[in-house]
Symmetry: C2
């Protein structure tokens, strides 16, 4: 396995170190190459993602990314120039974000019920297309536009993927999240394609929720959701909320998948670079470790993936929630659990 | 006071009846005209908002709206053709949505803390502009676009209003909610205008939150927010979430304000028409009653507005949360409290 690693900014390097420690237990022969993309490189050279690095990245089986973003860099530069550029260049059209409330984890809800959902977020178009502009900047007549671009091609492939995932899950339920009553055109395209693809999956039940109502349900009745499929921006919003509901972004993993496998997929914790706690051995590396589990699963190493997730579940069920330990201590514990092949709890 | 009332669909007429009952206690001489806009009229005549009705509505001091939307009407028809059309035609640029966790109310959060915020949502542009289209419909090359339109004029007036509200509140804190790291152009305009207007309000502290992070904070630490200002779509999403956090949309009131007072402002509960419980005397009219309080406040009847809000607070603190009573019973209770001039609790 050839793995490219982008530790990135803030807590990125710390959590990636632990994630690789855990990976080492199941895939000791993985060939790992580090790429120093992020704030430091941008400051030193002005580079965000040079073409040569992009070509090298393409030669790998997968990419593990820590976090991107730094207070010394103007907002958006690293996000658009590095993170989003990677997602777009590598055609990461399925942004996969599971949200599971593990036994033992206390989230913010008084009565969460059982939560085990996966959000399939479109990753290469929508309001993230970068289309738009400013007219008459800095005058009182200034206009700023942002164009959400949605293609039948782009919507169909992500909706198809979501139905396949729903089909393979016990509940076989899929919810389209959009705002069809206001966003008439994009809403129409998404609705028609969900209807079309649903015909090929007669045993998947289909629901629809406006994005505003979905946020209500995520805090009042999250167990109603199984697979959610949605556009890039709605997916950004509801996956942060889903992560919060299931115990926080310290636990939320994600995969940016090119399901055609023409390009390497990229795995990253949902959390950001958290500059306020960077370098303090305080960040929870669990989300990065779970991202390694998603990575292995994507590469067909199902047993290793399952073993890591089971170890995380065991650790979450048994750790002291109010002081789970340092970044390194959590990593050590998870690595030990994985190596001892711990069984999942419950 | 000349008041236009649009009971609308589903539970709209029921909650409006109770809201008017309460209004009658403080403004018995209000002149009320009913307008039968909504699903029934559309079915009967195909009309959504005839020009003649729109002109009549303009002759009023304010509008009270129940709810719009019906399962027998294709999604979006009533929302865009009636509700959004009213907001746009009447230039309701400040969509005001307070979210307060009243004593006695149990929301979904285990430890909500004190929540008392107000969201100032832009109401006449952004992704709601209706700009966009379909190209190559029903082919595999179909493209759907949605254009978010943001003008300096439109952003400045709503940001100015939000700063003025923040200035008048004890905490004097304002949070801009956007997604500036991705939506570069709109994000730039919003950020620059907030910075500009903040110079005129040096005693208001200003924070910024990405919309995804804001949803996390709304469930993990909602008391951090005082005034939030945001665009039309982000405002739609976070106000539903804020309503859920503070006990549900059964309690959430809103005002669609033309702060220039060239057009009548419109007041409505945040909830929808809830067709599943329509006509069953089950809907909680509290949000509609609180909308009347916002209406009176907007018309300068501060004392009457305060009296209604205090009565609601008293009822919420003393009602049986698990069975608050029928629509009518709650309305009767609130009307009696208002007429007896109940004092606020705590
Ligand atoms: C950092 C930002 C560009 C990114 C996004 O908006 O996709 C992040 O919020 C995420 O969800 O991965
Ligand atoms: C019904 C719908 C068009 C409306 C909106 O999106 O503004 C509603 O959700 C609201 O928040 O008032």
């Amino acid at each position: 396995m050839r793995l490219a690693v982008i530790p990135g900014d803030g807590i990125g390097p710390e959590v990636v170190t632990e994630a690789l420690k855990v990976l080492g237990e199941v895939a000791p022969s993985a060939e790992i190459t580090n790429y120093d993309l992020g704030a430091a490189r941008w400051h030193a050279t002005g580079e965000l993602l040079p073409e040569s690095v992009l070509s090298e990245l393409r030669q790998h089986d997968a990419i593990l990314l820590g976090a991107v973003g730094d207070p010394t860099v103007p907002s958006g530069i690293l996000e658009r120039g590095l993170l989003l550029r990677l997602r777009f260049e590598l055609d990461h059209h399925v942004n996969l974000r599971p949200a599971r409330l593990y036994p033992g984890v206390r989230g913010p809800l008084a009565e969460p019920g059982e939560v085990d959902m996966v959000v399939v977020r479109e990753g290469t178009e929508g309001p993230y297309a970068g289309n738009g502009g400013l007219l008459r900047k800095d005058t009182e007549h200034e206009i700023a536009t942002e164009v959400s671009v949605n293609t039948a091609f782009g919507v169909r492939r992500v909706v198809t993927d979501a139905f396949q995932r729903a089909q393979a899950r016990p509940r076989r339920h899929l919810t389209l999240v959009h705002k069809t009553n206001v966003l008439e055109y994009a809403g129409s395209l998404w609705s028609r394609i969900v209807e079309e693809v649903s015909l090929e999956h007669p045993d998947v039940t289909v629901a629809y929720s406006h994005v505003d109502a979905a946020t209500i349900h995520l805090v009042t009745d999250p167990s109603r959701f199984d697979v959610m499929v949605t556009d890039n921006l709605f997916g950004d919003i509801i996956t942060d909320l889903a992560a919060a509901v299931t115990g926080g972004i310290g636990l939320a993993a994600s995969g940016n998948l090119d399901i055609t496998r023409r390009n390497p997929s990229m795995f990253e914790p949902v959390h950001g670079s958290a500059p306020d706690i960077a370098g303090q051995n305080q960040a929870d590396p669990t989300a990065a470790v779970l991202s390694v589990s998603l990575l292995l699963d994507h590469l067909g190493q199902k047993e290793a993936a399952r073993r890591i997730e089971a170890s995380v579940a065991f650790d979450l069920a048994t750790r002291d929630q109010s002081s789970p330990g340092t970044t390194q201590a959590i990593g050590d514990r998870l690595a030990a659990l994985v190596s001892s092949n711990a069984r999942p709890v419950a």
